[in-house]
């Protein structure tokens, strides 16, 4: 019992644990950690207990005395002593009756009232006889209240059966007591003084046993904990080699990851002699690759981005999906109406957040959310929350010319169009012919009438058409921000993919910059975004563009949340204005990993030495005039 009692106390986990591993960890990991924490807590607790052992004991004893030796009970005890022969069961029964009588007094019949008065009267009589003045003082007022009218009856009431009356009086007084005292005590009423004593003795004994056990456990636990601290050591090279042949099971790897992280977080104290931090990191990387199923190259890249504990959160966040979100098509409906229509279909939804007025998060839906009549009528688009961001940053105005360089499947394009209220022109380009169908379908379904859809390689762009007010480049990327959507990224991206992608991104961004006219009265804005979290694809590309095109500068994205981009990363320092870019992470913002940078073009002139194609396209006005001439 003692053990159980101690477990019952179940104090909350200490704060230090939460600090150590913040965020979601798999359940097993959590359990394991909890266990460890509990152990350490136990240790502390019992230490504290031993210190405070004596005062605690005296305190409880005092309390018990208070309970048992209350002056009011003195009489009751006497009564009980007198009729010790009576069994406890009977006592309870007898006791129960008057109590009920008390509780239900107002609604009980007259008979009961009489019996009640009997108790009272007998009480009075007894107290008179025994001249226990103390109780009388406390009980008088109540008895007086009751007995006012019943005095006469008292006189000729059942005085013949003394024994019964005594019992009654005893229980009656019990009832009174329970009335006076806290309700809690009423349960223990039947307990006699001796029982109490016995019980308290028993309790004391048990506590002593408990403490002994606890002391033993502390000693044991301390030894175990300390032992474990020292026991954890990195596997040797042979062990690693052996593991490659016969891999460990997941739980073991998981535990090792946790141990390594613990060591890394307190490296000075917990490290193993002769092992460097990089040894630990190498093992951690191997284990994480195995546990989460990433390839070594990507794992290394991602581990460089975060601290180890944050990396774990990131990987865990990638294992669970993001909530389904939809964007209201303001060309056809309003968010309130849409929400109402969907709620009527039994959909459970909520606005995404304060930062958007058109987004809704779908928690659960009894109908397929991509096939409701509202969806087919083009009232909303299923779109990840993160893909609202570049369009919000782009902030297209009415009657502008906007280019979306890689548009499919059209979420951002249609959002642009909706913000422009179907005026001006949106050119939606996508290099992939397969994805064009979805793009065109979405554009038509959402009732966008100001769009041209074309199929070019984005890099050709300034040649085909230039002089845009705004260009949105949601560049093709490795997709490291959307691993929860497409887990194949974990394994199929190698160094050559990153080299290819970053190269493409740089070329596309330069094309995008050249397609914008700085003369635009309202715009001259370029937004670069990727659904990747790596620095090569984001900051490095932006930095490259800033170096290549001195006629642009970074401006604030207009997004008031998200982390700032890296200004320096692993020894590389970028332009200081890169702090204006924004990064979004699945484990922090609960949306896909995302990067947004917003440029403003200040001039169409580029220094000499730049290649020739930028000159005609940069001056979009010239191009426009040419085109017009051709048509008239």
């Amino acid at each position: 019992m003692g053990r159980r009692a101690r477990n019952k106390q179940g104090a909350p986990l200490p704060l230090e644990l939460e600090n150590k591993i913040e965020g979601k960890v798999t359940k097993k990991l959590h359990d394991r950690l909890k266990h460890e924490a509990q152990r350490s807590r136990k240790q502390k607790l019992s230490a504290a207990k031993q210190n405070a052992k004596k005062p605690e004991q005296t305190k409880t004893n005092g309390k018990r005395k208070d309970n048992s030796v209350e002056p009011k009970k003195a009489k009751k005890i006497k009564a009980q002593l007198e009729e010790e022969e009576e069994s406890d069961v009977e006592m309870v029964q007898v006791d129960g009756a008057p109590e009920d009588g008390w509780d239900n007094a107002p609604i009980e019949s007259d008979e009961d009232m009489e019996s009640m008065s009997d108790f009272d009267s007998s009480d009075d009589q007894e107290s008179d006889a025994e001249s226990a003045s103390d109780e009388k003082v406390t009980q008088m007022p109540l008895s007086l209240l009751e007995s006012d009218s019943d005095e006469d009856e008292n006189a000729n009431s059942d005085e013949d059966s003394d024994g019964d009356e005594l019992a009654d009086s005893a229980s009656g007084s019990g009832g009174m007591e329970s009335y006076d005292e806290f309700d809690m005590d009423s349960d223990e009423e039947p307990m006699t003084f001796r029982d109490m004593e016995k019980k308290s003795r028993l309790l004391d004994k048990e506590r002593a046993e408990d403490e002994e056990m606890a002391a033993l456990e502390v000693a044991g636990a301390g030894a175990v904990v300390e032992g474990e601290r020292e026991v954890f050591q990195l596997p040797t090279e042979e062990q690693v080699a052996a593991e490659e042949e016969t891999p460990l099971d997941l739980t073991q790897v998981q535990m090792r990851i946790q141990e390594i992280i613990r060591v890394l977080n307190n490296f000075a104290e917990l490290r193993e002699d002769g092992r460097s931090r990089s040894d630990y990191m190498a093992q951690l990387q191997r284990d994480m690759c195995f546990y989460y199923g990433y390839n070594e190259y990507l794992m290394e890249k991602l581990l460089q981005l975060f601290t180890v504990s944050e990396a774990v959160e990131f990987f865990e966040a990638n294992e669970v999906g993001r909530p389904v979100t939809v964007r209201t098509n303001t060309l056809k409906t309003r968010r309130r109406d849409l929400a109402q229509a969907l709620i009527n279909r039994g959909v459970n939804l909520d606005p995404i957040g304060k930062w958007t007025k058109v987004g809704l998060t779908i928690f659960d839906a009894p109908v397929p959310i991509g096939a409701t009549p509202e969806y087919m009528a083009g009232h909303y688009m299923i779109q990840a929350a993160s893909s609202f961001l570049p369009v919000i940053a782009l902030a297209p105005q009415e009657n502008e010319r906007v280019l979306d360089m890689s548009a499919a499947p059209g979420g951002k394009t249609t959002y642009c169009s909706a913000l422009m209220k179907n005026t001006g022109l949106v050119v939606a380009n996508d290099a992939n012919r397969e994805r064009q169908k979805a793009l065109v379908a979405n554009i038509h379904r959402l009732g966008v009438a100001n769009a041209i859809v074309c199929n070019y390689d984005g890099r050709e762009f300034p040649k085909i058409m230039g002089g845009f007010d705004r260009v949105l480049l949601d560049a093709p990327c490795s997709g490291t921000g959307v691993i929860s959507k497409d887990a194949s990224v974990k394994t199929n991206k190698g160094p050559e993919d990153f080299a290819m992608l970053t190269n493409l991104q740089k070329e596309l961004l330069l094309s995008a910059i050249d397609s914008v006219s700085a003369d635009s009265s309202t715009g001259g804005v370029i937004v670069y975004s990727t659904c990747s979290v790596t620095v090569e694809e984001n900051e490095a590309v932006v930095n490259y563009a800033l170096a290549k095109r001195p006629n642009i500068c970074l401006v604030d994205t207009g997004l008031d949340f998200g982390r700032s981009g890296f200004v320096s990363f692993r020894g590389r320092s970028f332009h200081s204005s890169l702090s204006l870019t924004r990064r979004f992470y699945p484990h922090i913002h609960n949306m896909d990993g995302f990067f947004v940078a917003k440029f403003k073009k200040t001039s169409n002139k580029i220094q000499t030495g730049e290649n020739e194609f930028t000159v005609p396209t940069g001056s979009g006005v010239k191009l426009k005039q040419k085109k017009k001439k051709r048509h008239h």
Binding site: P373, M376, L425, V440, H444, R445, A451, I452, N455, H631
Partner: protein
């Protein structure tokens, strides 16, 4: 991308007249800006002249869509309206049919409208005329051809077909591959 020939224009306008009658002039003479029809790979697009001019720089093989697609010419030279024309048909339609909530999904799955599902009908609708189908909340769902005139419709039994299905919003999902 090229303007429609006279023959093509005639066929297209005949088809449109079935649905929007004389309102067809509103499609051509718009108060805001001039619009035109353009043919691109047998699809007919309805687009503002401003956008059409911008699209002229885009090569024939690379241009996928511009403005709003109204439909396509079949190999036999007939014109087939697509669901994508619905916003404009709904705006100018002469004859309308409103279907009850229980008839909404059957129609969106590509079925004809039966009499039992009809909530409201334009009064003077003749037989074999183009009608636009709405739900009771006035959201256009698609369009079709009336099987009976409004007067005859009263006599039909509840399961009898009232409007033949032509196109519905569900095609965005069902026909995405062939539609565009």
């Amino acid at each position: 991308m090229r303007p429609l020939t006279d023959e093509e224009t005639k066929v297209l306008f005949e088809k449109l007249t079935k649905y929007i009658g004389r309102n067809i002039v509103h499609l051509i003479d718009r108060p805001d800006e001039p619009y035109c029809f353009r043919l691109q790979k047998d699809r007919v697009y309805y687009v503002s002249e401003e956008i059409m001019r911008k699209a002229a720089t885009i090569g024939r093989h690379n241009l996928v869509s511009l403005g709003v697609c109204f439909g396509k010419f079949t190999k036999t030279g007939k014109f087939r309206l697509h669901i994508t024309a619905l916003p404009f048909l709904a705006q100018y339609s002469k004859y309308k049919v409103w279907v009850k909530p229980n008839g909404e999904m059957p129609f969106l799955y590509g079925n004809h409208v039966v009499k039992a599902h009809i909530g409201r009908v334009t009064e003077d609708m003749p037989e074999h005329q183009g009608v636009v189908i709405y739900n009771m909340a006035d959201v256009p769902l698609g369009f079709g051809v009336s099987a009976r005139s409004t007067v005859d419709m009263r006599k039909v039994d509840p399961t009898g077909i009232a409007v033949f299905h032509q196109a519905d919003n569900g095609e965005y999902l069902r026909e995405e591959d062939s539609l565009f």
